[in-house]
Amino acid sequence: MTMIKPAAEIVPQTAAVEAAPGIERIDVTAVASKEARLAYAARQMIYPKLAHGTFRKAKWAVMAITLGIYYALPWIRWDRGPSLPNQAFLLDFANQRLFFGPIEIWAQELYYITGLLILSALGLFLVTSVAGRMWCGYTCPQTVWTDLMIVVERFWQGDRNARIRLDASRWSFEKIWKKAGTHISWLLVAVATGGAFVFYFRDAPTLAAELVNGEAPIVAYVFLGLFTGTTYLLGGIAREQVCIYMCPWPRIQGAMFDKDSLLISYRGYRGEPRGAHKKGQSWEDRGDCIDCKACVAVCPMGIDIRDGVQLECIQCALCIDACNEIMDRVERPRGLIAYDTFKNLDAASHHDRAPLRLIRPRTILYSSVMGLVAAIMLFAWLNRTLLEISVLHDRNPLYVQLTDGSLRNGFTVKILNKLHKTRTFTLTAQGLEDAHLSIVGFADTNPRIDVVTDNLRALKVLVTVPADEREDLHGAATPFRFVATDTHDGSRTYHDATFMGPNHE
């Protein structure tokens, strides 16, 4: 049962029409063509033909790199010493840490990630304003996995024409094993994808063994299942539907282009009027477009690029490859479809040229904001303290009076040691020099506090101001400062606090 039936009009007809001598006119109508753009329409299957050329090669390379990173990254090891995980990239939810090579971020420092996300978003804006939907066309996971799924599909069922014939044919043994092979392979890819995802959250070799033995945490199986399902569904089945109907980015991108953005464009001034080219016919008084529809056949989004820039176009550049191949064969210059700007297209139709402007207010703005954010992040990172102290004053009671008339305040002092070694501190109350400081659990008066590597230690600290020093307090609230000093290198950190007492009677 296939819910999506191939549209009758894209089944190849028997009689091939020539677009030029030796070049078949592919019998294809863009699913989302200018003429047939319905608000509500049943899905029509798209059978993208394999393209050959520079951009296809670039896309293979990008696919290899991005998938390689995704699948391999959790397996890379990084030695951090005995008590810490040795996985190079690990989102350790249990201990609220993010490890990335030498970088380690605690949960409360997640703003560094926010900064990275802001940089990524701005980067996306910048790239889009320079060269359109590069993200969508080359690196978006939806594009990469869909491409991978099409590779699998092509392996089992053949290229465009074979797939169309297979779908149109009756169920047979051949159709069953080809379809089954495709779906099983898709599921294997999906399981690998879901599997790789969970490895980012737990030591990969351990988790791999646990997953196989059925001992992994239930949440690992849930996410493995979730990502298996979504990879299969979105990459294998839904494909272009995700980009057209689910993704918000195509709607936003319209605000990111301008007349100077390099977009995948059909150079209508050169191509029109289009039409079949007969042998020996002059190229004078006609366009270079022979209407072979090679550009439509390779399009994974089912559009006709000759209709102009449109929402569905992810700008994957495969139509450029397809067209260049044809132009070579009819011995016309390449680049009938190419990266070009609206401005240049407009100028060219008046036999003029508009130079490419990479540096313009929009790109300058994005670049400078990116530079600013990067500078702020770098500053924050370089000034990141590897030692932190936080202080919480006891609420109930705020202070107690002791039998000898002295006043005491209780505090919870937390010392964070982000260094990968145990550090020893002493704690003092600066501004309350006469106060006596004692820590619950420590017998001596000026104890050395060990905080083990990459950890936090909470201390109950009692600060007592003797009766005869109470005169020096500033009424009910006296500001002072807890100072933690590393006994080894003398580095200090502090936190402001307040010593509370009764109002002067």
Binding site: M3, D394, R395, N396, P397, V400, Q401, L402, T403, D404, G405, R408, G410, V440, G441, K460, L462
Partner: protein, 289 residues
């Protein structure tokens, strides 16, 4: 079956229903995936009925194949948590109080447990932070009626104060006024003397007169110098910390009516290990001696 009619504008089949002579409804059935999901949920529901408690019966309800219940699940979790805690409980049970306080691995558990138990059982009178109130001692200071060592605190929690328990701490301040032991003027003088012990007397002459009365009536418990006696639960009167108020009228009322607050005993209500955790927690509040 009637002939299918195709709408000429949209090319879609109609349902055959016609209104107002020419208004026809297009046949747009629910998407097949939607219908499939719907039937899948029906199948799922049947499975659910079999596996989980589902249908009421006259005398109860269907228990489901696995006999699952939310209460049972909670019981399991509690049992699992208890099993996890058992190693701490065993250690705490076997260890003297002062050694628990020195044990770095046990202390976080003891303190967290003690704080929770304190909030549930002690907080209503002593306050969540053990800050106390009129008639209920502040446990954060170092002024203890019955002693602030771990053992003394443990004894107080186990058996209470004037609680009715066989081993309770059981001394009360007499009702000097109500029982006619002292006259109102004598009470006022005594109160001034008591205030003078912490340097707060407002009437030195009265305090001087009260000194003799104090010596006759109060020293057996509060001692010659008014420093109190923890064996008897007699408070130190010299430290400026007052359980029932430190103004002259408060003290006069105390002498007039006597005092004897009640603290319940917890032996038998809380298990011994919990009481030990509570003891260590209270001792750590800072009052500890």
């Amino acid at each position: 079956m009637t002939q299918k009619e195709i709408d000429s504008v949209t090319g879609v089949e109609t349902t055959g229903h016609v209104w107002d002579g020419d208004l026809k409804e297009l046949n747009k059935p629910l998407p097949r995936w939607w219908v499939s999901v719907f039937y899948a949920t029906v199948v799922w529901a049947i499975g659910y009925w079999a596996v989980y408690p589902a249908w009421p019966t006259l005398s109860g309800y269907t228990k489901g194949y696995f006999g699952y219940s939310q209460r049972g699940a909670v019981d399991k979790q509690v049992a699992a948590a208890k099993a996890d805690q058992a190693k701490y409980f065993d250690q705490i049970a076997a260890m003297p109080l002062d050694e628990i306080e020195k044990n770095e691995t046990l202390m976080p558990f003891v303190m967290a447990g003690g704080a929770a138990v304190f909030g549930d059982n002690c907080g209503p009178c002593h306050g969540k932070g053990a800050q106390g109130g009129i008639g209920y001692p502040n446990l954060n200071d170092d002024d203890w009626l019955w002693g602030g060592t771990p053992d003394a605190i443990h004894q107080t929690i186990m058996h209470g104060i004037r609680s009715g328990d066989a081993e309770t701490r059981d001394m009360a301040m007499p009702r000097f006024g109500l029982d006619g032991i002292l006259q109102p003027a004598q009470i006022a003088d005594t109160a001034q003397y008591v205030l003078s012990l912490s340097g707060h007397a407002t009437d030195p002459a009265a305090a001087e007169r009260g000194k003799a009365i104090f010596a006759d009536n109060c020293t057996p418990c509060h001692g010659d110098n008014g420093k109190g006696n923890q064996e008897l639960g007699a408070p130190n009167l010299t430290d400026g910390i007052w359980l029932y108020g430190g103004k002259a009228p408060d003290i006069e009322k105390t002498i007039q009516t006597g005092r004897g607050g009640v603290m319940p005993f917890w032996a038998g209500r809380l298990d011994p290990v919990t009481i030990k955790m509570l003891t260590v927690y209270v001792h750590s509040l800072g009052g500890g001696k």
